[in-house]
Symmetry: C3
Subunit: 213 residues, 3 copies
Amino acid sequence: MEFDAATLVGAFDRAGIVAFAFSGVEVGVRRNLDVFGLLVMGVVTATGGGVMRDVILDRLPLILAHPDYLAWAVGGATAAAVLIWRRARYPRFVLRVAEAGGLGAFAVAGALAAVGAGLGWSGAMLLAIVTAVGGGVIRDLLADRVPVVLHSEVNATAAGIGGLASWAAYDQSTSLAALLGLSAAALVYSAGAAFDLRLPRPAGDSRARRSKA
Amino acid sequence: MEFDAATLVGAFDRAGIVAFAFSGVEVGVRRNLDVFGLLVMGVVTATGGGVMRDVILDRLPLILAHPDYLAWAVGGATAAAVLIWRRARYPRFVLRVAEAGGLGAFAVAGALAAVGAGLGWSGAMLLAIVTAVGGGVIRDLLADRVPVVLHSEVNATAAGIGGLASWAAYDQSTSLAALLGLSAAALVYSAGAAFDLRLPRPAGDSRARRSKA
Amino acid sequence: MEFDAATLVGAFDRAGIVAFAFSGVEVGVRRNLDVFGLLVMGVVTATGGGVMRDVILDRLPLILAHPDYLAWAVGGATAAAVLIWRRARYPRFVLRVAEAGGLGAFAVAGALAAVGAGLGWSGAMLLAIVTAVGGGVIRDLLADRVPVVLHSEVNATAAGIGGLASWAAYDQSTSLAALLGLSAAALVYSAGAAFDLRLPRPAGDSRARRSKA
C-alpha cells in the first residue's frame, strides 16, 4: 500500500482550520465581540490566508468552492465560543499540536499552489507565508492591534522554510514535497514555541510601542 | 406593464452608495482627516464591499467598469463633507431608510453574483455579507478601530438572511429573488435599528476592550 | 538615438521601491518589530500598491512574476534595517528624491495598466492612486495607525494628477504619457514636501483624534 501524502496534508489542513478558528475566537472575546463577530473572527482567521493566496493567484477561493472547509471553520469557531462562554477548560496542548500541523499544511498548500502556477522558489516561499499567516494578520487587523506575527512569533519563518522545502522536493515527488514541507514548518514552529524563540530586533528604541493587547 | 425588479434594486443600490458614503465621511471627520481623506473614506465605504466581492470572484470591479457608481459615491461623500463642514443638519431618518434599502440591494447583488458564479447557498450567504458589510469594515480599519459590525450591528445578520432569501427564490425568478432578498435584509436591519437589537456575547470578561471610538 | 521612456520609468520604479522599503522599515522600528517584521514592513510598503492594482485587474502580481522587484524590496529593507540598527545617518534628501520619482513611476504604472485594461480617465486616476499609495496604506494598517495619506500627505493628489496626465497623453505616445505622468506627480509631491502643503479639513471638531503615532 502506498503512503498517501495528500490524505495527511488534508487531515492537518482541517486540524489547522479548527485550531486557527479557536485563536480567532479567543482574540475576539477579548474585544467583547458579539456571537456574529466571534464567528467572523474564527472563520476569517482559519480561512483568510487561503483566500488571500487564491485572490493573488486569480483562483476562486477554496472556501467558496468547497463548503466542507467552511463547515470546519464554523464548527471550530462555534466550539471555541461555547467553551469560552461556559468558562470550560480546553486542552491547549492539543490546540498547539493542531496549530503546528495546520501551519505546515497551510505552508505546503501555498507552496504547491505557487508551483502549480509556474512560479519559482521566491513565489513558493511568499505564498507559503501568505497562506500560513494571512489569516492571523487579518484577525489582528480586525482586532485593532499590530499583527503578532510581526513582533513575537516564528510562524512566518517556519512557513517560509516549509515552503522552500516543498519547492525543493517537488521535482522528486509531490508526496515528498508535502511531507518535507509539513515536517519542516511544524518542527520550526514547535521549536519556537518550546524555547520561546524570538527573532532579534533593533533594541533600545525609547519610542518603541508594542501591540495594544 | 411588468414590474421591473432590476430597476428597484438599481435605485436602492445608488441610494445605499450615497448613504454609505455619508457614514464613511462621518467617521473620517472624527479622525480629523483632510478633504482627500474624507473623499476616500466616503468612496471606500460606499464601494469597498462590491470591490471585495468582485476581487474574490475574479471580475473587474464594477466601480472601474461603470464610472456611474463612482460618481454617486463621490457625490455622496462631497455632499456629506459640505454638510458637516457647514455644521448643517441633515435628515438622519432619510439616511437610515437609504441605508436599509442599500444594505438590501448590496446583499441581493452579492447573492446573485454568487449564483451567477455557480456557487451554492453558503457562497450566496457569504458574498451577500461581504458585499453589504465589506465597505464598513474597510472604513473602520482605515479609522483604526474594531469594525462596528463585529460588536454592535445586526447588518451582517440582515445581509446574510437577505442573501439566503435571494438564493432560495432564484429558481422561481430573478425578480422574486431580488425583491425577497432586499425586503428580508431591510426588514431585519430596520428591526435591529428600531429596537436596538444586539446579538448576545460572552459576558463578564474583565479584560474586555471595546472599540476606541 | 531615441529616448527611451520605459527605461526612465523602470529606473524610478526601482528607486521608489527602495525608498518605500525604507519608509516601511522606519515605521516598523517604532513598533519594535523583529527582523522578520521589519522585512515584511519594507517589502509590503514597497510592493503592496502594485499587488493591489494587479489583484484588482486580475493579473498575477508583478512581484511574483518578476523576482527582480522582490530583490530590490528585500535589499532596500535590509539596508534600512542595518542602517537604523547601527544608528547610522543616512541621506534623507536622497530618499526624498527617490520617493518623488518612485511615486511618479508608480502612478504611471497604475495609469498605463488601467489604459491597457480598456478603462477610461476615472480608472486611470484610481489605479494610479492605488498603485502609488496602496503600499503606505497597508504599512499603516499593519502599524495600527490611521494611514498618513488620509490626513497629512499630498501623495494621493500627486498620484491622481500624474495618472490623469498619463491618460491624457496616451493617445500621442506611451513615452510622452510616461514622462508627463512621472513629472506631474513628482512635481506636485515635491511642492507639497517643500512648502509643507496640506489639504484643508473641516476644523474645530473637538472630538477630533489624530493617528496614534
